[in-house]
Structure formats: structure tokens, C-alpha cells
């Protein structure tokens, strides 16, 4: 009797919890943050969620409001829809360039504080306005949020390690030896395209690297494992030749010298030639040696240029300062002007490229 009573109560109690019927929910899957000119409501908040239209089609609805803060704006969105607003399915959060330049932390704080939002919420930048990217109607493409989420996952899988979720961004922001980066998207001919990497100094966007510049950035960051290298190389008498390698990053380490004035990034690439437009026979070991040398030199040079640029901008997406920190005592580290020291450092790239094969054609 006693047991029966207990079981009965346990089963019946579960029915008392609040019910949520999925057809009546606005499950937001992306939000966008932009700045407005309006002083009293400086934030332009874009929310998009999927809906089922009356004739049974899968569609989406995008609402734009101006607000004082992100939650203030979210409350305003509530007045603009007949559905119950839920942020538990939020996948992507997009930030406009102007807003990112002023600092992202306040917005990130309100995202991370909200317990209904997951830790793997992906972040990205829009080259102009976030609302523009989210509003874009691409024919037969469906949800922009799903598109962006897939895009980001794909980039990550293809080893463009820009897959930055809110945990990773905050981790690198709060870590005192590295600065976060974020992927940038832009609207281009009625399509959403990946258009580079945003570099951050603390929580403020400083500069956007074009995809062509950014590929060395991936190479020098530790998470990279394999990738594609396409380059025009100077092969002497015959002028330029185009080469494409499928490579594996075999070795990657960053060493800071004890003087802390000098650092070296060692990388070792092993690659297979997929394309070569030069006239020479790439399967010849001698030619291979020559190409190896040319590519190595190119990476060292262009890598150095990129790093100089990063140093000038005072951004440290490679986390060089972490290695510096790990060579110091706590007192020294706290007394150090990190960005100044970073700027004054001499950072070299020591690449080593090895050709593994010339593909399946001689």
C-alpha cells in the first residue's frame, strides 16, 4: 500500500511541471547585435526563429528591435510575436563590426549569464551589420541560422580553426597570454560568404584579416593539424608556377628564448603535391628539394610579415605571451607590460616543408 502510494505520487507529480507545446514556441536559433545611432536605445537586436506557416511550410521569422541592452531588447521582441520566446536552441550569435570595435564583453556577459543558453553557442562577426546577414533571404536555403552553424562547423572540420564558441572566446579573453579571434561573414551576391578573421585586442575588434592573409594564422596556431596550401611560387627561369599541397602539420611548437626578447615558431609540414603548373618534373627528388626550399622560404617570409602586422596591431592570437608567461615568475609577469613586450619581441618562423609524393601522376 505504502509503496503503491509512493509510486503513484511520483508518477502524478511529473504532470504538474509546466507544459511547453513546441508549436507555440519561438525557438530562437540566431541573434544579431548591432549598434544604432539612437542614443536612448543604442542596441539593434535581431532575433530569428523557425515557424510553420498556415499552409504547412517551413519558414522563418526575423524580428528587429532597438533596445538599451540585450535583455531589454529581448523583452521587446516578446511583444512582436504570438509565440512564447525560448533561447534554449540558440546556435549562433552574430555581432556587427561597429559594435565589435566598441567591445563585446557586455553582450557576451548577458549571453553567458543566461542559463538557458548553451556553452557551445557559436559566435561570429558580420562585416557590416549582423541584421543584414540574418535578414538575407536566400532562395531554397531555409534558416540562415542553420546555414551559419553548418558553415562554422564545416570551417572547423576543414581545419580553419575559427570555430569560436562562447566558452572558447571567453577562455581566450580571460587568459592573459592570448587574444581571441572570430570568423567574419558578409553578404555577397545574395549569399553569405566567409570573409576573413577578426582580430581582437582584449574584447575589442581591431582588424579583419582577409582569408588569404589569415591562412598562415591557422598554420601558426596550435590547433591546426592538416590543410591545403595553394601558392604561386617563383621557380627561377620559367617564372611563376602554381602549386597546391595537401599537407599535414607534423610538428608545431613555439619557443621563447630565455632573454624573452626572441621567439621562434617551429612548424614542419609534410605534403603531397596535388597541382603543379611548372614545366619541371615534380617527381624528381632534386626538383622536389628545390620546391621544398622555395616554399619554406615563402612561409618564413610571409609568416614573418603577418606576425609583424599582429605585433603592430598589439593583438596576440597565437598566444605567444602564454609561452613568455610560462618562463617567468609570477611577480615578473604581473609587473610586465605585456603588449609592449610583445611588440618589442623578435618573432621568427622556422618552417620545414617536406614533399611526400607528387600525387598519382609523374
Amino acid at each position: 500500500m505504502n509503496k503503491l502510494f509512493g509510486i503513484l505520487i511520483i508518477i502524478l507529480l511529473t504532470g504538474c511541471a509546466e507544459q511547453r507545446i513546441i508549436d507555440d514556441l519561438a525557438l530562437m536559433n540566431a541573434v544579431g547585435f548591432d549598434l544604432t545611432e539612437n542614443e536612448s536605445n543604442p542596441l539593434k537586436y535581431t532575433a530569428t526563429f523557425p515557424i510553420i506557416t498556415k499552409d504547412g511550410n517551413y519558414d522563418r521569422k526575423t524580428i528587429i528591435v532597438d533596445g538599451k541592452s540585450s535583455k531589454d531588447a529581448r523583452e521587446k521582441v516578446r511583444f512582436k510575436t504570438n509565440f512564447k520566446l525560448e533561447s534554449g536552441q540558440l546556435r549562433v550569435s552574430l555581432f556587427g563590426q561597429k559594435l565589435a570595435k566598441q567591445g563585446m564583453l557586455p553582450y557576451l556577459n548577458s549571453l553567458v549569464r543566461d542559463s538557458s543558453i548553451g556553452t557551445r553557442l557559436k559566435l561570429a562577426l558580420a562585416e557590416d551589420e549582423a541584421s543584414e546577414v540574418l535578414l538575407l533571404q536566400i532562395k531554397n536555403e531555409g534558416q540562415n541560422a542553420t546555414y551559419l552553424e553548418q558553415f562554422l562547423t564545416k570551417l572547423n572540420r576543414e581545419n580553419f580553426r575559427v570555430n569560436y564558441n562562447i566558452y572558447q572566446f571567453l577562455r581566450d579573453y580571460y587568459d592573459d597570454g592570448i587574444d581571441p579571434i572570430l570568423p567574419v561573414f558578409k553578404v555577397e551576391k545574395n549569399n553569405i560568404a566567409f570573409n576573413g578573421i577578426g582580430l581582437f585586442h582584449e574584447d575589442k575588434l581591431v582588424e579583419i584579416l582577409k582569408p588569404s592573409e589569415a591562412r598562415y594564422l591557422y598554420l601558426f596556431r596550435e590547433e591546426m593539424q592538416k590543410g591545403v596550401f595553394v601558392e604561386q611560387i617563383d621557380v627561377g627561369e620559367e617564372g611563376m608556377a602554381s602549386i597546391m599541397l595537401n599537407y599535414e602539420l607534423n610538428n608545431h611548437r613555439i619557443e621563447v628564448h630565455t632573454t624573452r626578447k626572441k621567439a621562434s615558431i617551429y612548424i614542419e609540414l609534410i605534403g603531397d603535391v596535388v597541382e603543379y603548373t611548372g614545366k619541371e618534373d615534380v617527381s624528381d627528388p632534386k626538383i622536389q628539394k628545390k620546391i621544398e626550399k622555395i616554399i619554406t622560404k615563402k612561409i618564413n617570409q610571409e609568416g614573418k610579415e603577418l606576425i609583424l602586422k599582429l605585433q603592430k596591431l598589439q593583438v596576440d592570437p597565437l598566444g605567444i605571451n602564454r609561452y613568455v608567461r610560462n618562463k617567468m615568475t609570477y611577480k615578473e609577469w604581473k609587473a610586465l607590460n605585456q603588449y609592449q613586450a610583445y611588440q618589442d619581441m623578435n618573432i621568427n618562423v622556422e618552417a620545414n616543408v617536406i614533399l611526400n609524393s607528387s600525387g598519382k601522376w609523374k
Partner: protein
């Protein structure tokens, strides 16, 4: 209340582990970071050793008294003398058991079920608690083993965080930054609390008493250590200080191919560990009260306790209150954990001396 059936060392270890691991686990990495600063996980080892020393103390009582239970030892005192002490300890344990459950329910509500009334969480929790507490220890221990296998797999979820783990983030600094060793260390010590209940059942363990107790504490410490260590390499240090419940975030970071946001499930599974903590503290309180009021029927006592406990659950209104209550209660419980074995040890030695004197005459 002695039972004929005895606990196997394995059961005893698991019992200790499940009493210990409770609701503090969710904030533990942050507490460790606040207390010991960078690389604070090392400090956890020190705390664990202190607990082991306390366990040795409890074992000494058992050894010197030649296997007597706590109640047999204090039987030399008149009941009116032991009454205030026993009631005090019983109240502290009862409140500790309650507030652990309350805190878990409140976190659960805040994080996942904002719109569900706490009343339902309490009701569900206490029905399960009641069903276990009214049984004797051997039955509880059997249930514990099942719950252990239910929950222990969650440890392996830590493997999901290895891709994001970096030794670089650990930094070479040891115990640097803003540290608060004393208060912080105390709050970490309370995370391991629960082992002191073993004073009530050490005599029921078949063999290898000390080893099984220390093994129990080692399981807890190892799990705490693993979680904390992974957190220090997974989060950056400043970020860890900002995370209210780093372990919930850790759970939230796990992704499965088909399921999104599994932490709702895993977090609820942790509820079983919290349940055992509550059950055992209430059981301890029940044993103490039963000793004092031998005439009251055991079942009636349990129901009485459950009613009091259910009422007490509604005293604190917000999480902040619960945390404040818990701080004081755990301080008291920590004092009990050390003082009771010392007191019992003195009693045992005293009785020995007194018994020897007449024999010499």
C-alpha cells in the same frame, strides 16, 4: 540498533564516497581557484590527507574500544547528559542533509527548470529519501551500490574535454593570485564532509575497516581531483573565477551527435548522489535520536524527521540564504567530525583506566 548483517568493505567504501560527493562538486573548481589560486588542484591533495587523518582518528576509537559502537561507548554516561549533545549533532546533520538537497533543487530550478515549483523537487526528493531512510543501514548500502553504478560513469565524461585541455593554461605559478587559504580551504574541506558518519557504522564493517574508509575517501578525492585538474586546463584561470558552477559548464560542453544540451540529463543524474548524502545524514540523525528516545518506534521517528525536514526545506527563500546556512552548518559539522572521535577516544581511554584501577586493588 544493531543489525546482524554486516557491510562488506566494498559497500562501506562506496557508501563513504556517495555520502561525501554532493552538491559542492559543481562549484568545486572555482572554490579551489579562489582558495589556492593558480594550480590550486595541488591544494586538494592536502585537504584529502587531512580527511584521511580524521578517518584514522575514527578508526582508533574503534580499535581501542575493541569494536564497540559509538552508542556502546557513550552508554557509560547517563542519558540526560548525552541528550543535549546527541540532539545538537542530530539537528546539525539533519539540517545539513536538508540544505544539500535544497541547494541542489534550487540550482536545478535555476539552470534547467525555471518554471517548476521547488515544492515538486522537494516532494520527489523526500519521497525517495523516506523510502531509503526507513530501512536499516544494510539495505541502504545495497541501494548505494546500485546508485554507484548508476552515477560513476559520469566520471568518464571528462574525456570529452581533453581536446580543449591545455597544459599551457595551467601556468607554472603555484598558489599565486588572490588566495584565501584558510576560509577557502575550509569550504573545500566541507566538500569532502560526510565521512564522519562512518563513526556510526564502522563497527558494522566486516573487515579491513580503516582501509575501506580510506578507500572511500580516495574515490571521492580522486574524482574531485580529476574534475578540478581538468577544469584548470580547460578554463583559463580568470575565467574559472567567473564561472559560478564550472562543473555544470563542463557538463554543458559535451556534445553528442544526436542530442543537444545533454547536461539537463547528466545534471539530474547527479541528483542521485545528492540523494544519498541527504539519506545518510538523516539516517545518522535518526540513529542518534533513536538512542536517546529508545521507546519511540523507529518508523514513527523517521516520519517525524521527514516532516520536520520538509518544513525546514522552505525556510531559506533564495539560493544565497541556503549558501549562508550551509556555510555555518558545515562549519559545525566539521567541528563535529573532529571533536566527536576525540571525545570518544578520551572516553574509551578513561573507561580503560577506571576499569584497570579496581583490578589492581
Amino acid at each position: 540498533m544493531s543489525t546482524k548483517e554486516q557491510l562488506s568493505p566494498f559497500q562501506a567504501s562506496i557508501l563513504i564516497y556517495l555520502i561525501q560527493s554532493g552538491v559542492t562538486l559543481f562549484s568545486l573548481p572555482r572554490l579551489v581557484a579562489e582558495a589556492f589560486g593558480t594550480n590550486g588542484w595541488i591544494g586538494l591533495i592536502i585537504i584529502s590527507i587531512i580527511v584521511n587523518l580524521n578517518l584514522v582518528l575514527i578508526w582508533l576509537v574503534f580499535k581501542l574500544s575493541k569494536g564497540k559502537s559509538m552508542f556502546e561507548i557513550i552508554a557509560i554516561f547517563p542519558k540526560w547528559l548525552t541528550l543535549p549533545f546527541c540532539s545538537f549533532i542530530a539537528i546539525i546533520w539533519m539540517l545539513l542533509g536538508v540544505f544539500v538537497m535544497v541547494k541542489f533543487s534550487m540550482i536545478l530550478k535555476m539552470l534547467f527548470y525555471q518554471n517548476v515549483s521547488l515544492f515538486y523537487f522537494f516532494s520527489m526528493g523526500y519521497i525517495l529519501t523516506y523510502l531509503l531512510v526507513k530501512k536499516d543501514l544494510y539495505q541502504i548500502a545495497k541501494a548505494t551500490v546500485v546508485l554507484f553504478y548508476f552515477t560513476v560513469w559520469t566520471v568518464f565524461l571528462l574525456a570529452f574535454h581533453l581536446p580543449e585541455f591545455s597544459f599551457l593554461r595551467l601556468t607554472p605559478f603555484i598558489f599565486k593570485g588572490d588566495t584565501d587559504m584558510l576560509n577557502g580551504g575550509m569550504s573545500i574541506f566541507t566538500a569532502l564532509l560526510g565521512y564522519e558518519l562512518s563513526i556510526l557504522f564502522i563497527h558494522m564493517i566486516e573487515r579491513k575497516q580503516l582501509k575501506s574508509l580510506i578507500a572511500g575517501n580516495s574515490i571521492t578525492s580522486l574524482i574531485y581531483f580529476g574534475v578540478t585538474f581538468v577544469s584548470f586546463g580547460f578554463f583559463s584561470f580568470e575565467q574559472l573565477l567567473k564561472e559560478m558552477y564550472p562543473v555544470v559548464t563542463l557538463l554543458g560542453y559535451i556534445s553528442f551527435p544526436v542530442l543537444e544540451r545533454v547536461e539537463n540529463f547528466t545534471f539530474s543524474v547527479f541528483g542521485l548522489k545528492v540523494l544519498m548524502t541527504t539519506v545518510m545524514y538523516l539516517w545518522g540523525a535518526k540513529e542518534l535520536l533513536q538512542y536517546q528516545f529508545i521507546r519511540v518506534k523507529s518508523n514513527l521517528l523517521v516520519i517525524g524527521i521527514m516532516i520536520v525536514v520538509f518544513m525546514a526545506s522552505f525556510i531559506p527563500k533564495v539560493l544565497k540564504d541556503v549558501e549562508e546556512w550551509l556555510t555555518y552548518i558545515t562549519y559545525a559539522a566539521s567541528a563535529i567530525a573532529f571533536l566527536v572521535p576525540i571525545f570518544l577516544l578520551l572516553t574509551v581511554l578513561l573507561t580503560k583506566i577506571m576499569n584497570r584501577n579496581p583490578a589492581n586493588e
